[in-house]
Amino acid sequence: MHLNNEENAMLAGDFGPAVKWALEHQLQVGRMFDAKDMVAVSQSHMMADPESLGEAGVAFTEKLAETNTRVCIPMITDPRGVDLEYYKPIGQTESMAVLERRFIAACKKMGITMTNTCINYQTIMPPVFGDHVAFGDTGVVIYSNSVCGARSNFEGGPSALAAGLTGRTPRYGLHLDSNRRSTKRYQVAEEPNDLMDWGLLGATIGRMAGSYWEVPVIEGIEKVPSSDQLKHFGAAMASYGSVPLFHIVGITPECNKLEDVGGLSLGVKKITDEAIRNLKEPFTAVGDPVDVVVFAAPQLSIIEMSKLAELCNGRERAAKTDVIVCTSAQVYADAVSMGYVAKIETFGGQVLVGTCFYQQYAREIGESNGWKRLLSNSAKIVNILGGYGYQPSLATMEACIASAEKGIIVK
């Protein structure tokens, strides 16, 4: 890879050992993906919950922080794994909280802003068209690439941290125009409406596309979707297919017309109702008792919190069915002032702040609380939690609340 004078100085250790580590890390990754040089990035966003970090990851980060090196671009964080104001009641241990506190301290020492959110594109500082960024969280990346027209690869925690320290990232993947052209073309027969249906559509396309290196272009969406709809659509597509970018003809900014992304020559695959039903079928369990209803993945926007509060208003959950809601601190403050949190809590729900359910020791809290049958309106979360010992099911937000009220899954 070609390095400029500043990058060579970083590699030589002139900026300290933390920056030297960061550039060496980036060179290894860049070599594997044939990067020719580095590209400056305007922001970094790091996924790093204590369950994935473990003692090793926290100690690694602390060691970097001990060098007194600070990040050189705005750097923010994905949801935490422990809501430090509410962790013992959901079965998290003190050792989990200690790990979380240590990591937060190390991040702050490096100048990282603890936003703890996976909806930064709705709440913090959305990237602008053409903006090169180093974002973690697949939902953040696919939304930023597709809806904002920014340029980011999936940057795992270590690489996002490296980008924060060097202010750049290897120029490969979606930083290159050539990799942003469509490779698969899909025709949607019916435009979804509910958030769950948008998630199912994204999941179906993600599963069909099936690779980080595929770029779906989608036809048949006429009505401009909301930010929340595209949030669920993208998060599910990334979850099921590891897909980091999609185009919707006439909707997303790089694809006013199909030919803008090279889609004319691609064969069309129809997204049938049957394909969507097949994806949903394993997540259908009407009539089963439900242990926990979860609204998360991605964290809820203020609009989703508003809708949820209205659904909860004047009702009460069944005694044996817990309700967990995950949102960001930024949304939470508004949701408190608007009375949404009070309505959800009166229903019997618990609003967690700055966390996301699957990132907070999902196996351990499931075992601690006896949660097995889980219900959510997030196609992403039901995809993840099967490996954590849950029996996940999928329903609309309305059906989730009705199920929580009755204690069994209803249509």
Partner: protein, 136 residues
């Protein structure tokens, strides 16, 4: 029988080990019980199998970014694969391998690596040279 497979230059050290192969995808978050070192997603084709010290051979990566930290954490406890071979790695897996100092290669010249390698094959993985050598 093939003696070696050419692939793209990868990441990590040269390692020797026994292959565990499936035509399936991979996420440390979605698929693994990392405490016990086994595949824990019931739908995964390697469900119930131990991944400790094997050379995993899979199709591609799926899902989220957590695997980047998780490979490092798994390697620190020495309950990790020695190497992972993919038809196509994604960026997260490569980044995780770099931090964990785990061997990883992808893009095989002769086709689908999940068909070219069989479970139980003894392999040497050479990321710097972009090749995998059969030793049995």
């Amino acid at each position: 029988m093939r003696k070696e497979l050419k692939c793209h230059v990868g990441i990590g050290p040269e390692v020797r080990g026994v292959a565990l192969v499936a035509d399936d995808n991979f996420s440390a978050r979605y698929d693994l019980d990392r405490i016990n070192g086994v595949f824990s997603r019931p739908q995964h084709k390697l469900y119930g199998k131990s991944y400790k010290d094997v050379i995993l051979v899979l199709n591609t990566a799926k899902g989220g970014v957590a695997t980047a930290w998780m490979l490092y954490e798994m390697a620190s406890r020495e309950i990790a694969p020695k190497a992972i071979l993919f038809n196509n790695a994604n960026t997260i897996l490569a980044q995780g391998a770099a931090l964990a100092k785990m061997a990883m290669v992808d893009r095989f010249e002769d086709g689908d690596v999940t068909k070219l390698v069989k479970t139980g094959d003894h392999l040497i993985v050479c990321p710097d040279e972009g090749k995998v050598v059969f030793v049995n």
